[in-house]
């Protein structure tokens, strides 16, 4: 009984839902504030993302005519559940050292689920613009998953393991994986792919506000949209944490110094994401696909080959 209780606490409160949601929403605030400052604006107050979510929870939810309300509401929750599970698994490696064979593969699979929930949500909405956004989201995910997986393979090849705990231990004894040329290239590729998975500019093609309004989210309102927004915010926290775990030496929370290092690494990745977001125009979907399957995949393959022939720079 106490095991189940502990699992519930882990999933819903500490490394899981509540912690990730708060951290993710604060990251969204940092993103919005930095964006505003870069545009010479003042920007929103710190509680803005929380107020957004609370407001949406109190709004009316409209289900489009001829759409199953159950499916319409369940789909966003699917993405939220998956991203919470990813966060719990990543933090369990840190706080409990618990891991099982192939949990890296499970994390990689679960990271696609929020995108799949967006695709499903756009498909059930019965709106031409949401269908357009959905098709773009599908193409974008197909494009960016290939180089992302290749860059993760480089890490697997370097550390020789598909256990998150072993990867963290390998980095504790050998230094951060991104510390050599081949894996640094892989890290750069993964960072660009994370930008696309998050759906940020220049890859905000699915929900391009100026052309197709809100893309897959167009028919979503009230609590269901709040869940989508929360999922996006949590991904902004979980994906950098994933990158830190496998590339930048893993996370350690034993001493205050190591917590400081984690925060520093997280802020660096977040700043990189925000700066890429604010200095680039949006690509067309064909340009994005060509970009990911062209130069980015080639760089990822070069990284993999350098790792394979054992370049130790």
């Amino acid at each position: 009984m106490s095991e189940i209780f502990k699992a519930i606490i882990l999933y819903f409160i500490f490394p899981g839902f509540l912690f990730t949601a708060v951290a993710g929403l604060l990251s969204t605030w940092i993103d919005r504030k930095v964006t505003a400052r870069l545009q010479w604006r003042v920007g929103p107050p710190w509680f803005q993302p929380f107020a957004d979510i609370i407001k949406l929870l109190g709004k009316e939810m409209i289900v489009p005519e001829g759409v199953s309300a159950f499916r319409f509401v369940l789909i966003p929750v699917l993405g939220l559940a998956a991203i919470t599970l990813v966060s719990t698994m990543l933090w369990m490696v840190v706080i409990g050292g618990s891991s099982f064979t192939g949990d890296l593969i499970v994390v990689l699979c679960l990271l696609i689920v929020p995108s799949i929930s967006v695709i499903l949500g756009g498909s059930v909405s019965k709106n031409p613009l949401s269908a357009l956004g959905t098709s773009r989201e599908m193409k974008l995910i197909l494009s960016c998953e290939l180089p992302f997986l290749i860059s993760v393979f480089t890490v697997i090849m370097r550390s020789g393991s598909i256990l998150l705990v072993s990867i963290t231990e390998y980095q504790a004894s050998h230094g951060a994986i991104a510390g050599n040329l081949s894996c640094l290239l892989a890290f750069a590729v993964a960072l660009i792919c994370v930008q696309a998975i998050l759906g940020y500019v220049p890859f905000d093609i699915p929900d391009a506000e100026q052309e197709i309004e809100a893309g897959p989210y167009i028919e979503y309102s009230g609590p269901a949209f709040a869940v989508f927004k929360l999922t996006r915010a949590m991904m902004l926290f979980v994906l950098p944490v994933f990158l830190i775990t496998i590339f930048l030496g893993g996370i350690n929370v034993m001493t205050w110094q190591s917590v400081g290092w984690f925060v520093l690494k997280y802020v660096l990745i977040l700043t990189a994401i925000i700066l890429i977001k604010n200095t680039n125009p949006r690509l067309r979907i064909d340009q994005a696909t060509r970009f990911f399957w062209g130069p980015v995949t080639i760089v990822a393959l070069i990284a993999l080959m350098l790792q394979f022939i054992g370049v130790k720079i």
Partner: protein, 137 residues
């Protein structure tokens, strides 16, 4: 619920419906997003879809052709909804009110919560009016 009301006051999403305006008010609405006025300070953002909007900004006289669309837009909006008539045209129809293609004023088509007269109204006036409308909810 008080918490939801607080959220609504702190994070309203604005949707802009140009009901056959001359674009003068529309340009002033866009001014709200610029660094000089920056309504994101008050948590207001521009919503892409009417389903995610809390405030409907109507500009223009809303002639016979657009009236039906405006009603549709209002019906598609999730409650609680606030409608602001921006500019003298939307408030009273001014010189166009006897025109052959103008049927009824905006506030006879959909319920209007707040009127912001001016040709065009100043962005400061719009910000003050929207804050008042939200506080009166």
């Amino acid at each position: 619920m008080n918490l939801f009301k607080w959220g609504l006051r702190k994070a309203p999403a604005v949707f802009h419906a140009g009901a056959s305006a001359c674009n003068n008010c529309d340009i002033e609405i866009l001014d709200l997003l610029t660094p000089r006025f920056d309504i994101e300070r008050f948590g207001m953002t521009l919503a892409g879809s009417i389903r995610q909007a809390d405030i409907l900004l109507v500009t223009g006289v809303a002639n016979r052709k657009i009236a039906k669309k405006l009603q549709q837009l209002y019906a598609q909006m999730p409650a609680p909804k606030v409608v602001a008539a921006i500019g003298s045209c939307a408030c009273s129809g001014i010189i166009f009110r006897d025109s052959y293609n103008v049927g009824t004023p905006v506030d006879k088509i959909i319920p209007v919560n707040i009127y912001i007269p001016g040709c065009p109204p100043k962005p400061e006036a719009m910000i003050a009016a929207l804050i008042k409308a939200l506080n009166s909810l």
